[in-house]
Amino acid sequence: MTVTPLGIPRRLLEFTIDGEPARVPEGSTVLDACRAAGKDIPTLCEGDTLRPKNACRVCVVEVEGSRTLVPACSRRAEPGMEVRTDTERARHSRKIVLELLASSVDLSTTPKVAEWIKEYEAKPDRFGPGAARLHEEPKVDNELYVRDYDKCILCYKCVDACGDQWQNTFAISVAGRGFDARIAVEHEAPLTDSACVYCGNCIEVCPTGALSFRSEFDMRAAGTWDESRQSETTTVCAYCGVGCNLTLHVQDNEIVKVTSPHDNPVTHGNLCIKGRFGYQHVQNRG
């Protein structure tokens, strides 16, 4: 009989990070290795369920022999590589990337970015009051989720999650070019005229809050959104027999958001419209 493949055993390879020896399995990225070594490298476009896009360039590090800086999220570790994570050169690029983003995008709901701006002494204001910004209004065209592209850093994660990496619905793409590039459905139509199936797997991967549950969007607008008062409980969806794990985010005994564990063997962080949004019946409490 055939034996269950448990994955081919991977060789360990050796290299150095900031002068310290590091050993990681073949195929690991520099970022994997840095995290294993306890180095805090900022990341924005990197996603644990997605192939690295290395678009934001905030995770760049120096690699001996490389003309340019190297994105830690996508570069595979190689034997003998000498990686330096905290040089002036790497820090400079991270600082500028943070300044460029913060001066053009609303990062108010991006986790950790305020810390990084402080740590890297970034000064987004120095481009002056005339610096071009995205200037996008939130798109509120359905009851389930909101697209606030003023907060979009164009990390491509939503496009990848909607596309061939998970959902394969391809409702959205990047349209336009350069600074004018935006996430859009075909012909910039409203979502309700698009291929969107409202699985919300784009929300699951959005790193900035540009995509959010309508419930979160409304509560933030009303000033009632308070993550410190929210509990997260993982349970199993009741809508079919597949058994998707749902993490219910509950504030004041109301489900306000639903996610799924990214390492779950059934979902890998993905849900369908029913699992993601179909909780309201429980709290129709009369």
Binding site: E143, T234, A238, C240, K274
Partner: protein
């Protein structure tokens, strides 16, 4: 224009009682409601049936079946499993001795050929289909067998649009082609199966050209599927209700299983059979014994040793015969031999085929207790209504998914008002009927189950959390078993190989509800992406995709009847008649219509469906009714 705001249900927060069915409900205390319920059930010992719930936890199902067997002394316990996947369980256990799907989701990512038969998983099981899509992206070729060219079928290398109810001719023709092309896995057939010769003779008449005539699918397409499946190194055969919801659903399942036996596509990593379950705990409900013929752990009631084990564990006597399944219980209501029902979390008044008949039978009961989170159409017929909790968000426990993975369910929100957990309520009733069960919590129930079910023994709550669910069988607390079942069939040692898997010698039997001049259209049913069953839960959120119930026709039929999208028409079958607006779908062909059962409060599709049941599993033929479409004299549009 007619207003089509879907009905939304509000949670039950107090028990409801009434003295007679003519009166409206009044709110009551738990004491009063439980006393009334206990008295009502007590009066009907010997004429009692329990409808357990395929959406509730394993723990609740365990306690519910124990209530039926120990408190009420009957094996008459079943769940809506009957309306969907009972044929899968019956077919798989007849072939392999166990009713679960044989593969795991992850395996479909690493297989070579995927056959989706009677399954629109893209809509009905979206996250399972993501695993299938991974497989497709990894290079697997998918084949779809379905009367409609569904979203699922659009991903296929080849879609075979067969006539409704011709699955057995298709399967037999594939089997015959595999045999004639010399593609049988002879070593496997010889060692691990029985009845091949009979099977060969059975399928011999089903030439490709005969199959083309009966199924409507070109012989070339059938041949191509046969060769692709048989030549694949690994292949997954998946099905859903398109196979099971027929009057001969179990035969359909057997016909598919035969193909896996012929080619050795079972019992190996990446090769297997995958029935996709429609509800979160269809698998678990059966595993827990909430079915009339099995005790917890899928152990046969007719086995005296098994009975003895449970009798000593529960200190009771277990009836040494099978109880009535859901379908038989409804028939027994008709005959008058079943007088009281305790219905937990089910809505048979809307989910059963020929729903008018189901309602009439429920009305005729002497006593009906309904325990639910909403006042459903079924609850409206009850004498006592007990407000319960939503299993998936308000209780602790476990459920078991389609790949046999037992996973933890956790309480995230507090139930409204006085609503109570199912297990609590059942135990309160048991206590009033003389059985004082003490379960500190769901884990205590689970540990009792573990002690009587070897397949679940290894799954402690700690391990379930650690591994994010564990698939059965799991007999050891130290080890995990392979992700697929029936690896034994590949053992060289006959001892370890165990019982051979018999070929199912099943015959084609066309749908009961024949189309004719009066009812010329074949109506088939299914699910939409954003809705669920009778819509009681899914009606609660504002899906931008939802458009309510329509009767879907192909463009040619719409033109023939002179009707347009949104125009209301009369849809009639031999059993009933409804008015529904028209939708036009190019995935259909002339003579084939489609409806869902998601909006029974708008359009009660099950007034049209036929209660022609599978004699083995009891599942009704939801997938094949004969209807006619009539244009209304005064045209009304819905939009």
């Amino acid at each position: 224009m007619r207003n089509r705001q879907p009905k939304t249900y509000t949670r039950l927060t107090r028990p409801l009682v009434r003295d007679s069915r003519d009166e409206p409900f009044r709110e009551a205390s738990w004491e009063e409601a439980l006393d009334r319920a206990a008295r009502g059930l007590d009066r009907h010992r010997g004429a009692f049936g329990m409808f357990s719930c395929a959406r509730a936890t394993n723990e609740m199902n365990y306690v519910a079946q124990k209530f039926a067997r120990v408190v009420m002394g009957t094996n008459n316990v079943d769940s809506c499993n009957r309306t969907c996947h009972a044929p899968s369980v019956a077919g798989l256990s007849a072939a392999f001795g166990s009713g679960g799907g044989t593969s795991s989701y992850e395996e479909i990512e690493h297989t070579d050929v995927i056959v989706m038969w009677g399954s629109n998983a893209r809509f009905a099981h979206p996250i399972f289909f993501q695993h299938a899509l991974k497989g497709i992206r990894n290079g697997a070729r998918m084949y779809a067998v379905d009367p409609r060219r569904t979203s699922t079928a659009e991903w296929a290398e080849s879609w075979l649009g067969l006539n409704v109810g011709t699955d057995i001719p298709m399967a037999h023709a594939i089997g015959r082609e595999i045999i004639h092309a010399g593609l049988v896995n002879e070593a496997f057939v010889e060692r691990a199966t029985s009845g091949f010769e009979e099977y060969r003779r059975l399928v011999e008449p089903w030439t490709l050209s005969l199959a083309e005539k009966v199924t409507g699918v070109p012989a070339r397409a059938i041949r191509e599927l046969a060769h692709a499946y048989a030549r694949a190194e690994r292949a997954q055969l998946c099905w859903t209700l398109g196979i099971t919801e027929h009057h001969n659903g179990t035969d359909n399942v057997r016909a598919l299983i035969n193909l896996s036996l012929l080619t050795g596509h079972v019992g190996r990593y990446g090769s297997g059979l995958q029935p996709l379950r429609g509800q979160n705990n269809v698998q678990g409900g059966g595993d827990m014994g909430a079915i009339p013929n099995r005790l917890p752990g899928f152990q046969d009631i007719l086995d005296a040793d098994v009975r003895l084990k449970f009798e000593s564990a529960w200190d009771t006597v277990i009836q040494p015969h099978y109880g009535l399944n859901l379908t038989e219980m409804f028939e027994a209501m008709e005959e008058g031999s079943l007088r009281a029902v305790y219905c937990i979390g089910e809505n048979p008044a809307q989910s059963e085929a020929d729903s008018e008949q189901a309602v009439r039978r429920l009305r005729a009961l002497d006593f009906l207790v309904v325990q639910d989170i909403f006042l459903t159409k079924t609850a409206e017929l009850a004498d006592v209504v007990l407000p319960a909790t939503a299993g998936w968000a308000e209780t602790d426990g476990t459920t078991t998914n389609s790949e046999r993975r037992v996973q933890r369910v956790r309480r995230a929100v507090t139930p409204p008002g006085e609503a109570r957990e199912d297990i609590d309520i059942i135990c309160e009733l048991a206590a009033r009927l003389g059985h004082d069960w003490k379960y500190a919590d769901a884990q205590a129930v689970w540990n009792e189950l573990r002690s009587v079910s070897p397949d679940h023994y290894g799954m402690t709550y700690e391990r379930l959390a650690e591994h994010q669910g564990i698939q059965w069988p799991c007999p050891s607390t130290q080890r995990l078993e392979p992700t697929y079942l029936h690896g034994r069939l590949w053992e060289k040692d006959p001892e370890r190989r165990g019982a051979a898997a018999p070929f199912g010698l099943v015959q084609h039997d066309p749908p009961v509800d024949l189309t004719d001049e009066e009812y010329p259209i074949r109506l088939t049913t299914g699910r939409r992406l954003d809705s669920y069953n009778t819509g009681v839960q899914s009606g609660g959120f504002a899906s931008p995709l939802r458009r309510g119930e329509y009767v879907e026709l192909c463009p040619e039929d719409a033109e023939r009847y002179g009707v347009v999208v949104g125009e209301e028409v009369r849809v009639s079958s031999r059993r009933g008649s409804v008015v529904a607006p028209v939708w036009v779908d190019t995935a259909l062909r002339p003579g084939l219509a489609f409806m869902t059962m998601h909006f029974p409060d708008e359009v009660d599709t099950n007034q049209l469906t036929i209660e022609a049941n599978c004699p083995i599993a009891g599942t009704a033929e939801f997938k094949a009714s004969a209807i006619r479409i009539e244009k209304l004299p005064a045209v009304t549009y819905v939009g």
